[in-house]
């Protein structure tokens, strides 16, 4: 059992978060989600279920979409983490953030950071996805508000804007 109050047992973790090198002390089994939210103040990743089902805690780890609620911080050592906060420079927006705004992809917004990161990975791997491929590619991220149609529109439009840019 982890006694999270004990002073020993913590290890030093180095990793890169949104392009910035970070070094901190944490228990090896602490969840990456908690480290991001509580230690680094990056609250864009949300906890919807804590068991790898909803995807609202998604982050990109070395470019791969991961549920940060399932990642012990130990596993994140020496990796490159990207969260929603690091997607675009301050006062600017990533094309997906813009299309989510334009196409109604965010309603309550709680799934949105994870959903956008899932879409980033999708478009990285498949710059011209079909509607079916978008549906499939986002199926690990649950949204209770939108019924997904407008999210799919937003992703398709982002692909169009990118390909025509």
């Amino acid at each position: 059992m982890i006694n999270s109050r004990a002073g020993y047992g913590k290890i030093e973790i180095s990793f890169t978060v949104n392009g910035e090198p970070k070094k901190l002390r944490a228990y090896p089994m602490e969840r990456l989600l908690d480290v991001l939210r509580l230690k680094l103040g990056l609250t864009g990743a949300k906890e919807g279920c804590g068991e790898g089902e909803c995807g609202s805690c998604s982050v990109l780890m070395n470019g791969v979409l991961m549920n940060s609620c399932l990642i012990p911080i130990l596993q994140a050592a020496n990796t490159n983490i990207q969260t929603i906060e690091g997607l675009a420079a301050e006062n600017s927006m990533h094309v997906l953030q813009q299309t989510f705004l334009d196409y109604g992809g965010a309603q309550c917004g709680i799934c949105t950071p994870g959903m956008i990161l899932a879409a980033v990975q999708l478009l990285d791997r498949n710059p011209q996805p079909t509607t079916e491929e978008i549906r499939e590619g986002l199926s690990g991220n649950l949204c209770r508000c939108t019924g997904y149609n407008q999210i799919i529109d937003a992703v398709a439009e982002a692909a169009r804007r990118r390909n025509s840019a």
């Binding site: 609250t43 309603q107 309550c108 709680i110 978008i134 549906r135 991220n141 019924g147 997904y148 407008q150």
Partner: protein, 755 residues
């Protein structure tokens, strides 16, 4: 007719940029210095009397703040409609998730172990009841004298006389299961207490003034010593209408005892098991029909399972009862509605609020009537649709120029219904799957039922600010539906300002007036109208003070407003709900104008049933509705699609598995909501009639889409496989059983026939 600049345009969602960049602050994102974390010890048994509570030695209890019912300064209840639900059980428990003790500690990781280390002993178990039928039998009386929370009777014409005249008498029974709202952000709250200012709570919630009322009664504090602030809220759908009052009460008690701020965030399992879900229901229809397929009249029995305490059941029941007759003309009808008690956690508000249950029954029953009479599902509906000038079951005259037949025709056309119906009929004979197509026609009343809006007497404010912009002050909350955006549009339109010149105050009871709860699809229609008139008040103030003239430009307005504020101070104009004088409602007889306006809709679902796996896929979905003026097409469409997705879940996926009043599948792994790959493209169409009551002619929209999917889909499944299913959720195993039973019956019939 003026042309509107902002109304009807899909302007950017007001808080959208913060949402897509991850900057929005939800309650769990907020941290206060010195904050503790709280947890709840619950009953675990459905019914009994507490004998003893003990604390295991393994836990350093002196580090914990522990709160029991004895620590409640005021009344031990969550004040809502009735006062029957305790905040913390002190002696009796009535459901397995009843809160008994509260614990707080600085380290949230220690709480689960501590909760487990509390053991509660009960007197030898008391028998409990879990279904509508058990509750009706009254072998155990768990609430009042007869387990009945509330009954209504709607009576129109004379039902006695109709049976003799009927060519057909059609009977049916229909049932719907509990459904979890499953907002992706679980419930959560933070409370802080200070002698001089009282209690402040920040939380994920729909109705700041419900929480305010509950905390005043609980803590015995005057209104000004209770402050409720809504944080960005990650979905609600009715699920954050009432239960946040409970969590606010719990965090407040802990904070008062600890003298430190306390945060409680439910994990997914606690949220699913303990908080409210949609009421399970049972509806029985008995209908007299003429040879031509006209409804002569009928009896409708509508019963819902309210769980252990009254909470909002009486109101859910009322809406369900009023919608039970669907969009049809009933010359004679008797609707008997009843909410009963069981030993489950109280059921509560969920988008649609009783109407999805009774409309599911009505629209399944309509297909049954069609088959009995030998008419098509289209024809039977056309012959019975309400027409302008006719009256609803509560004898409300339909004054809108609605033409449901035309609405239906249009839906048939865009869904290619006739061709598909033909194609499926012949093609259905072959292959390992069957396709079918089904219709649901329905209505949804916007705003509070009957005299509700009159009692609420909502107030909104609009403020002229120092920089020349205006700010809208309402307690109506944003939780995804677009409250912020639509109310800003209305204020901007009314004042002739750009949309960007309007901001929304954060819902904070210290600052915003009580514009009523954010429920019942009332925000755009009722609150919107008040925002419009308060906004006009701001312009009037500037015009009266001679700083502005009619026909002003946006720049003129800004300059005048700036000047006014610099010489006076920021100023606010208020507007209070004034009930239209022509609305009549009799609460005793349940007769009259039930709603200020109805939205009308026809939905068409196409399904494919796989005969190997028995799974149902929705292949196409057409949603056509008349909702008055569409204020923001993109948001409106998003509301409709989102509601339909939840409706598809309600029909085909989402089953709450109960054991002794407890939800057994309180996880996203075993309570299944639709993913992006489960859903069809949903095609949305609006018809606009315009309406006299709402802001710029808007009616309610949020709940409507929840009503249609279930009956349309089950009607389509019957069309596909030729076997009726009348209970939802309809899972593959139900279809397998149903088809097996039907084929057994068929072979029995053919055996009999051969003899």
């Amino acid at each position: 007719m003026t042309t509107e600049r902002i109304i009807g345009n899909s302007v950017p969602r007001k808080e959208g940029r913060d949402k897509v960049t991850g900057r929005s602050q939800y309650v769990d994102d907020m941290v206060l210095p010195d904050m503790l974390f709280g947890a709840t010890v619950r009953s675990q048994i459905p019914r009994g009397r507490i004998k003893n509570i003990s604390f295991a030695d393994s836990i350093p209890w002196d580090e914990f703040v522990i709160v029991s019912a004895k620590d409640i300064p005021g009344k031990n209840c969550i004040a809502l409609i009735g006062d029957d639900q305790p905040c913390l059980a002190s002696e009796f428990v009535n459901h397995p998730e009843e809160p008994i003790l509260l614990l707080a500690h600085p380290d949230r990781h220690l709480l689960p172990q501590a909760v487990k280390a509390v053991s509660i002993e009960y007197e030898p178990p008391w028998p409990a009841i879990f279904t509508i039928e058990e509750s009706e039998r009254c072998t155990e009386v768990i609430w009042g004298d007869d387990n009945i929370f509330k009954t209504y009777r709607i009576q129109k014409g004379d039902v006695e006389g109709i049976w003799k005249k009927a060519a057909y008498i059609v009977e049916g029974e229909y049932s719907t299961g509990a459904q979890e709202q499953l907002y992706i952000e679980p419930n959560g709250m933070i409370a802080a207490f200070d002698e001089s200012t009282g209690i402040t709570v920040w939380g994920s919630l729909q109705c700041p003034y419900y929480v305010h009322k509950a905390l005043m009664a609980l803590a015995n504090l005057p209104a000004e010593k209770v402050r409720v602030v809504q944080m960005e809220t990650g979905g609600a759908f009715g699920g954050k209408e009432e239960y946040p009052s409970m969590i606010a009460a719990h965090t407040s008690l802990l904070a008062m005892k600890a003298r430190r701020p306390v945060k409680i965030i439910y994990d997914r399992m606690e949220d699913m098991a303990a908080t409210t879900k949609r009421h399970p229901s049972r509806t029985r229809h008995r209908t007299a029909v003429s040879r031509e397929g006209k409804i002569l009249g009928g009896e409708i029995d509508f019963t819902i399972d309210g769980g252990a305490y009254l909470t909002l059941s009486s109101v859910v029941l009322s809406r369900g009862a009023i919608h039970a007759g669907g969009p049809y003309y009933w010359p004679n009808v008797q609707i008997r509605a009843k909410a009963v008690a069981t030993n489950a956690p109280p059921h509560g508000a969920f988008r649609g609020f009783g109407a999805p249950q009774s409309l599911f029954a009505m629209e399944r029953h309509m297909d049954r009537i069609a088959r009995t009479v030998g008419l098509s599902p289209v024809e039977i509906r056309k012959r019975n649709f309400l027409q302008p000038g006719q009256t609803t079951t509560t004898e409300q005259v339909v004054r809108e120029a609605i033409d449901l037949g035309k609405l239906l025709d249009r839906a048939l056309e865009v869904s290619d219904y006739t061709a598909k119906k033909k194609q499926f009929a012949s093609k259905n004979q072959l292959g390992s799957s069957r396709k079918g197509i089904g219709i649901a026609a329905f209505l949804h009343g916007a705003g509070f039922t009957g005299s509700g809006e009159r009692y609420l007497s909502s107030v909104v404010g609009v403020e002229g600010c120092a920089d020349g912009s205006v700010r809208v002050l309402v307690s109506s909350t944003e939780f995804g539906q677009g409250t912020n955006t639509v109310l800003s549009q209305i204020a901007a339109e009314a004042l002739g300002l750009p949309y960007e010149s309007v901001t929304m105050a954060q819902p904070d009871t210290l600052e915003v007036p009580n514009s009523g709860p954010t429920v019942a699809s009332r925000t755009a229609m009722v609150v919107g109208k008040l925002v419009q008139s308060a906004a006009l008040g701001v312009a009037q103030t500037l015009i009266f003070s001679k700083l502005l003239q009619e026909g002003y430009s946006a720049d003129d307005f800004r300059a005048a407003c700036k000047q006014y504020v610099s010489t006076h101070s920021p100023f606010r104009c208020w507007s209070r709900y004034d009930p239209p004088s022509d609305i009549f409602w009799d609460d005793e007889k349940y007769r009259g104008e039930a709603y200020a306006a109805f939205a009308w809709a026809v939905y068409i679902a196409e399904v494919e049933v796989d005969l190997t796996t028995y799974s149902v896929a929705v292949k196409d979905f057409v949603a056509l509705q008349e909702v008055g003026k569409v204020l923001h097409p993109l948001l409106a469409k998003g509301q409709i699609i989102g509601g339909i997705a939840q409706g598809i879940g309600f029909s085909l996926y989402e089953k709450v598995v109960w054991q002794n009043g407890r939800m057994q599948n309180g996880q996203m792994t075993n309570y299944i909501m639709p993913t992006s790959s489960d859903l069809p493209p949903i095609r949305v169409f609006f018809e606009e009639l315009g309406n006299f009551h709402g802001a710029y002619g808007a009616k309610g929209i949020g709940e409507l889409p929840m009503d249609g999917p279930a009956p349309a889909i089950l009607n389509a499944v019957e069309d596909a496989v030729g076997v009726p299913f009348n209970s939802i959720p309809l899972l593959p195993e139900d279809i397998m059983d149903g088809l097996a039973a039907a084929s057994e019956e068929n072979s029995a019939v053919s055996r009999v026939g051969r003899r």
